[in-house]
Amino acid sequence: MRQEKYFGHDWVTIIEPRRGLAGLDMRELWAYRDLLWVLLTRDIRVRYKQTLLGAGWAILRPLLSTLVFTVVFGRMAKMPSEGAPYALFALAGVLPWTFFSSAVAAAGESLVGSQHLVSKIYFPRLLIPLSVLGACVVDLTVGLLVLVAMSLWYGVGITLSWVALPLLVAFLVLCSVGIGTLFAALNVTYRDVRHLIPYALQVWLYATPVVYPPTLFPEQWRWLLYLNPAAGPIEAFRAVVLDRAVDVQGLAVSLAASLLILAVALLYFGRVERRFADVI
């Protein structure tokens, strides 16, 4: 698809069969930014409609997970938490993890869930898996307030290094977009993905340093842990919150893995995008 000026004000769209590795059309994505915005806000608005607690869920969910993890791993399994109170240690891991896992789960389901849009109207399909991020970001922001409260409670306090958190969230966005779009595109053709996602995420949780510290692994093998693209930003997030040194090497390994997955996902998405309306 090309769009160009035609006789001054008009423009011409040329529709032709697309072949080969039609890549990502950034200009087109930008042209549809209004749609992305509307879809993002739609998901945010709809998220807690007709619930008793409303946005309270955004507070309650990480708290409940933290409680469970604290009891099971902190108290019963006596998991080390690098000297920090286990509850704070867990919450600082649970928040970014929840962001990542709910973004991936929602993105994976998003295309199939928007059949009515995909088969009736044209727009860059990538907007759909992207649009689930809005609600996740809002949940994370609300969760951060809980984290602030808990940090103060435990007397850990907030340091200047917290300004790095948005950067780490951006990193997480990168990583969840890559995995989420890949799942979303695969899900269109193979609905197996829908059944796979919950399991994958469950296993993934334990492959990520959320309930345990990465120091559980011997130093020379730790980089393997960071091949998991979610591991780097989540661990760094916690390191910042607990005011510890960030494992930069691990972060770099995760970033490389993230970018690789993102590239593969976007390429694959671009290739199969045109078939979505027929297959979905």
Binding site: T13, E16, R45, I121
Partner: protein, 328 residues
């Protein structure tokens, strides 16, 4: 074709050049979210259809006035009646400022007054120098709205030109060709022994696939029995939107079928099928539970010759010969 033009599906061959902004309306209310309010959905739907948020904000009052829903703007659309829903959706679509508007048969919705309003709006759009591509089997609407007609047959251009000529070609064009009967399209356990070769619909002494509902019509099925059957009946079924409304058979149970060709004739009464597209299903049944069936061997179009309320979809799919009177 609409899907290619609106870029939902990518073409396998060929090329389309679109000059101007194109908006497509394959369905009203695309992307409406039931939980959101009328106001939120206007923005959502408008942007999905290709307007910018600023553009919608500018036209918002006009849209709401057109839909006559000022009082319900803050109500989630899931509490709307289907009429209100459609009105709001069409109002958004009608205010699209595109140079080219692709419209599928979406006008077949809403109450009569709103339909008139919608058609009026489309005429206004067409009159203001913008192009409307209207895809429909509703000949009345085509006649009212269009200035030229493109007739597609099997995906190819069969005719491009004036409205009246196009419509009469359409009406005549149906049924000249005998629908080829694909033997693979039949399912059932009666795989061999009976083959259908032709199905034809006749009315007023000529073969046609456009049926005038005010008089009776005939369906003739031809075929060949490769062996003789002690008992075999040929079945015909009429269905719409995948629902079979009724079926009929050509002979009482237990009638034999000798080897060789056969032809079954079904006479159907006037004032039975309401206007629209009907699928004819065809099959055979041998006593002892051997059967074959194809739910759609042909599609006929029942035209809108009926006056009054009888042509409205809401009044049902079929009617019967009834008698009514009123007294004081």
């Amino acid at each position: 074709m609409l899907k290619v033009l609106s870029r939902i599906t990518s073409p396998t061959t060929g090329r389309v050049t679109v000059r101007g902004r194109l908006a497509s309306l394959l369905e009203v209310g695309t992307g409406f979210h039931p939980e959101l309010t009328g106001r939120e959905n206007v923005f959502l739907n408008g942007v999905i259809l290709g307007m910018s948020r600023r553009e919608i904000a500018r036209k918002f009052d006009e849209i709401v006035a057109f839909a006559e829903l000022e009082r319900f703007l803050e109500t989630p659309v899931k509490r709307y009646s289907s009429g209100m829903y459609v009105r709001l959706a069409f109002a958004v679509a009608a205010h699209l400022d595109a140079d080219i508007l692709l419209v599928d048969e979406v006008l077949a919705v809403g109450d009569a007054a709103f339909q008139r309003k919608s058609i009026g709006k489309m005429e206004e759009v067409a009159g203001s120098g913008r192009a409307v591509v209207f895809v429909s089997h509703n000949l009345g609407a085509v006649r009212a709205l269009c200035s030229s007609v493109l007739l597609l047959e099997g995906g190819r251009r069969a005719f491009l030109g004036g409205v009246e000529e196009g419509l009469s070609r359409y009406e005549a064009g149906w049924g000249i060709e005998v629908v080829p009967l694909d033997r693979r399209a039949f399912h059932g356990n009666l795989k061999t022994g009976v083959e259908f070769t032709k199905i034809e619909t006749w009315q007023h002494g000529s073969q046609t696939l456009v049926i005038d509902p005010t008089s009776e019509f005939e369906v003739i099925v031809r075929g060949r029995a490769e062996r003789s059957f002690p008992s075999l009946e040929v079945n015909l079924g009429f269905s719409r939107d995948g629902v079979r409304l009724f079926s009929c058979h050509d002979a009482p149970r237990g009638t034999s079928m000798p080897e060789g060709t056969f032809s079954s004739r079904f006479e159907l009464p006037a004032h039975l099928l309401r206007p629209g597209r009907w699928s004819i299903g065809l099959g055979a049944y041998r006593q002892g539970a051997e059967w074959k069936w194809n739910p759609e061997v042909a599609v006929i179009e029942v035209s809108e010759k009926w006056g009054g309320r009888t042509d409205e979809r809401e009044s049902g799919w079929v009617t019967v010969a009834f008698r009514a009177e009123r007294s004081r």
